[in-house]
Symmetry: C2
Subunit: 630 residues, 2 copies
């Protein structure tokens, strides 16, 4: 047979897949059987098909999933999890009986694929992200000359409406990622009705081709046509996509292309009818197997140090207290040093690298710098993909615009990978550009995650150190950078995750001012001024906002007054973290919180800090008022 030598085995396999998809979802009482059924042929031909020369389309060793020579399979339409798990059962990786544990609390077969199932590349389920994750893996593979391993992504037609998909289409074409191969399951029906384009695969084709991709349309129930398409994709010299016209519920008469079945498991009676249409098999492993990976080429994987364009040496900057230094410059220098020293560090930036100063890393090591253009969602998901292949990405843009990828960051936390985000230009202190450019919710964004480490360095020395600390964080970390040039406060390296620094503390302190970043400088000025009035205040530099330095806060509370001051909106930042800590520890201490409360606008840094009442004057006033109320 043309292009497909094992069609008969695949026919049996597809019955196996369908029967288990239906049985496991009915057992679970929920799930997406019809969205799984539509992609059965497409995925079984990919994973288990052999062309006319018995060559496989997909190569993967499930006993060694992290082998860099493996192809990758990502289900961007994560709700097709029943198909995903059934495929691995067909491959012999899990017992079919385990499928019946789908969605149970004690099962690793969750409602959408998560890392608890060992072969899951990345958790999916928030639509439109899986393609970008695959792009990240493909882009890394290209840079590392690992060109035999391909990345396959199953995309749903509903999620083609997500802009992130087109961010990925544009960038994959820009970098000509011929190792990225996509199949779109055009089953026409979304959750509530027909998708925007329905079955108009010609429209999809035109769009994909206009974005520089090789693209084909096929009947997604025709194994030979699918094999032909996978063969073409195999030989593609550009990113490639197959639009498979399928039917939601494909393979079961009363489910196929029928409305009202989205995300619904069959009742037992319906299940019996459906299974009756699928010729009985013994439901053991079908007669197919996965092909293992080809060996890596000699020149693949990481380029050796000698191959790198630039010798990896960065001059260490010596700084002394009091000199002025831009904190974001320090980020660039520290990052350049880091990328030169540590092979696992990669840098991604959204066309802002001359502002974030991530461009210094590009100068030192262009091989591990990725220009992701103004497409933050794709950047973040691609970083997740690189992280899953062993990298530690540093991902930077303006603090305001990092919020663009909030959902991708939310999903990144479930990928169990190290990623450091860096937001420059936070707060009203950026001045004249105005509110649209001011990151005033960024601390809340990263704080809202279940776990994260959050740094907010107040000077160049601290930035230098927290970059290194972040590089050792196993999960998500965030560094709030600062645009301004500020005096260097520290000459030493005594910074740790969960640490803080105390200034001006004496046994007779009557207040503690807790600040970070730009407001720390205001706090120091305020404390100096207050000291002249005979009011002795300590200043706590909370350069690590999460985890909190509880010991330092307890000590600060002993003064009887804590004034927290931050260049951020009221909720989710420094003040609420400190306030909640005081409440939870049941500490009796007067607490005052200064934050950005008025509508921000253009102006100078000084004007805006004063207008928002987060400057030295506001701090002094607050301390004086609090003391007068004692």
């Amino acid at each position: 047979m043309k292009n497909l030598s094992n069609a008969a085995e695949l026919e049996l396999t597809d019955i196996f897949l369908r029967r288990w998809i239906l049985r496991m979802t009915t057992a679970a009482g929920s799930g997406h059987p019809t969205s799984s059924l539509s992609a059965v042929e497409a995925m079984s031909v990919l994973l288990f098909g052999r062309d006319e020369r018995e060559r496989p389309f997909f190569r993967f060793d499930p006993t060694e999933p992290e082998n860099p020579a493996n192809d990758r399979l990502i289900f961007s339409k994560g709700h097709a999890a029943p198909l995903y798990y059934a495929l691995w059962a067909a491959a012999g990786f899990i017992a079919p009986s385990e499928l019946m544990t789908l969605r149970r609390f004690d099962s690793v077969l969750e409602g959408h694929p998560t890392r608890r199932f060992p072969l899951t590349e990345v958790p999916t389920g928030s639509l439109g992200q899986g393609l970008s994750v695959g792009l990240g893996m493909a882009l890394l593979g290209q840079r590392e000359k690992n060109d035999r391993a391909r990345v396959f992504v199953l995309v749903g037609d509903g999620e083609m409406a997500e802009g992130q998909i087109w961010e990925a289409f544009a960038l994959a074409s820009y970098y000509n990622l011929s190792n990225l191969k996509v199949l779109v399951d055009v089953n026409r029906l979304g959750q509530c009705g027909q998708t925007m384009l329905g079955w108009r695969t010609d429209e999809y084709l035109r769009r994909a081709r206009s974005f520089g991709w090789q693209a084909w349309e096929v009947d997604g129930a025709d194994r030979f046509a699918l094999a032909e398409a996978w063969s073409l994709a195999d030989r593609a010299d550009r990113p490639s996509v197959i639009f498979a016209k399928t039917r939601k519920g494909q393979g079961v008469s009363f489910l196929a292309d029928a409305d009202g079945w989205h995300g619904k498991a069959l009742a037992e009676a319906d299940l019996a009818c459906a299974l009756a249409e699928l010729p009985e098999t013994k439901e053991r492993k079908p007669p197919v197997s996965l092909a293992g990976p080809l060996p890596l080429r000699r020149n693949s994987s990481r380029p050796s140090r000698e191959e790198e364009t630039h010798p990896a040496t960065v001059e260490k900057v010596a700084r002394s207290r009091g000199e002025k230094a831009a904190v974001r410059d320090a980020y660039g220098t520290a990052l350049a040093e880091l990328v030169a020293q540590r092979e696992e560090v990669v840098v991604l930036d959204a066309e802002t690298s001359n502002s974030t100063c991530a461009d210094r890393a590009r100068e030192v090591c262009p091989e591990r710098f990725f220009e992701m253009f103004i497409a933050e969602q794709n950047m973040v998901s691609a970083a997740v993909g690189m992280a899953r292949r062993g990298k530690h990405p540093f991902v930077s843009t303006f603090a305001a615009f990092i919020t663009r990828a909030a959902d991708q960051i939310r999903m990144a936390q479930y990928a169990e990978v190290p990623i450091t985000f860096v937001g420059s230009h936070p707060g009203v202190s950026i001045g004249a550009d105005g509110s649209s450019q001011m990151g005033l919710e960024d601390l809340a964004l990263f704080g809202a995650l279940r776990e994260s480490v959050i740094f907010y360095p107040a000077d160049a020395t601290t930035m230098d150190k927290v970059v290194k600390l972040a590089a050792d964080c196993p999960g998500i970390s965030y560094i709030r950078s600062t645009r301004a040039t500020l005096p260097v406060i520290y000459a030493d390296e005594d910074f740790v995750v969960g640490g803080s620094r105390v200034h001006l503390d004496t046994p007779k302190d009557v207040a503690a001012i807790v600040a970070a970043g730009v407001t720390l400088h205001e706090a120091l000025v305020a404390a100096d001024d207050l000291a002249k009035e005979g009011i002795s205040c300590r200043v706590l530099d909370l350069y690590c906002l999460r985890p909190l330095d509880k010991e330092a806060l307890r000590a600060a509370a002993e003064t009887g007054l804590i004034v927290a001051v931050e260049d951020h909106y009221e909720r989710g930042g420094l003040g609420q973290a400190v306030g909640t800590f005081l409440a939870a520890e049941n500490i009796d201490c007067d607490f005052r919180h200064l934050f950005v409360s008025r509508p921000p606008r253009s102006g100078t840094t000084e004007q805006l800090l004063a207008y928002e009442r987060i400057d030295a004057e506001a701090i002094k006033k607050t301390v004086r008022e609090a003391l007068s109320e004692r």
Copy 2:
């Protein structure tokens, strides 16, 4: 002259625009002169050009900006604000001398356009959003048969990388918004270097056409070509886009297409050189004027009540305490009632309306329901556009996926419009679908805004009422919906913004359990059980999480113990709000916070509430422990 009758006046106008762009940015010491210069010809032809029959391309009355017959102009590339302001000076709306206040604290001419400048349609500056705002206005205009007023959007080429742009392209084509007219300023250079496509306008053309748009490419310095393109756009029967090949810094020899000038004001010496190239004028208002709007067609604006497909009657649901009712169902019913009663209410949903129950509104009033498909970013910005035209949008999807539009929500707060967001399926309580579908950061997202009202109803009655309360909120409000069917708790209507409800309070209460939504039911069970043990606890239903009911919290604190329990991650939700309040009020009260702390997974609601220790058992244990420590 072909298609442009006033080229000579426009030439003078463009000199005026260029001189002021350069002068005002130099005076400000910052800004984006070169990004403004590239679009000078394109925008002056649009605003002030007249075709061969003396017909204008743009119609707007600056003395009556809210006139529905006005065309609209949105600068999606908000950093071209100097050009934007200069255009209004050329139109005579502001004095040229006022331009010299650009970016000053006391000026309404902010670094990026904001509502403080009275003609700004919506604040822009986060790239890729302005087109969607325009789409929202155009879509509303289409529905209201206001087809003479067009929406014009200036888009930068750098922001074409944002996925949201393609969400808008896809949807504008789907709804065939022929009243939406876009010009892309293809000046080739981004912030750090060349954009992905550079000057390859043929590639842009192909992409736009594949998305169903009419598209043309022109030399963006050629006024006649631009006029020809605007004429074609004027006659377009589909959404249309002009790709204008321009030069960044166009019109000044040493700036044009030169690297390194992004976002930089000229030094005085450079300014003098530049102005010397621009033939002297008196820099008063140039000899052009804006055309006023055509009168509305008789059948335009809002369809009268009789024209609406369905008579606007919705049966009021009577509920009694104890009966079971799905909270999301109550949302659907309340929304349907609201949309039938209030013409300003519009409903947008991201292809989840059968889950969020927003589909009930569609049934009652299809004219004011907008299916936005799975493209949350475009949905939110489009809602901002509709809100600016006098509507109150209710925007719904899963709570988890609303985070997709965090940056758009951030920008929405600066638009000074009423929008209600509704997130369904929050928390681990959704059960089997797993972590990707669980909104666990949504309260933090809306809480992080400078101002917002946040509701989290625990039963159908409360949902019913908060929908009405939200409809009266002047700014951003958020309703956290709930998937589960829960017992009805209330039979009355005593709910207010900033309110709460107290249960089981007695003078001998030794603890207060503060909860909302699904955890309120756990709290009530816990309190009942504890009462049997002789431990008297009150329960506070914090159905409004922002603003907080401070009085009720103060009273609760008098019990000496507050246990806050929520189906949300630790930071940014109910617990931190309460904790910070207690600290800020300096209230001496034991405070315990129960929240989602373990990695969430699939399971039943009961299993997950127990696993996360936010169920009745966990509450009881916490109360007992706290009391034993007294």
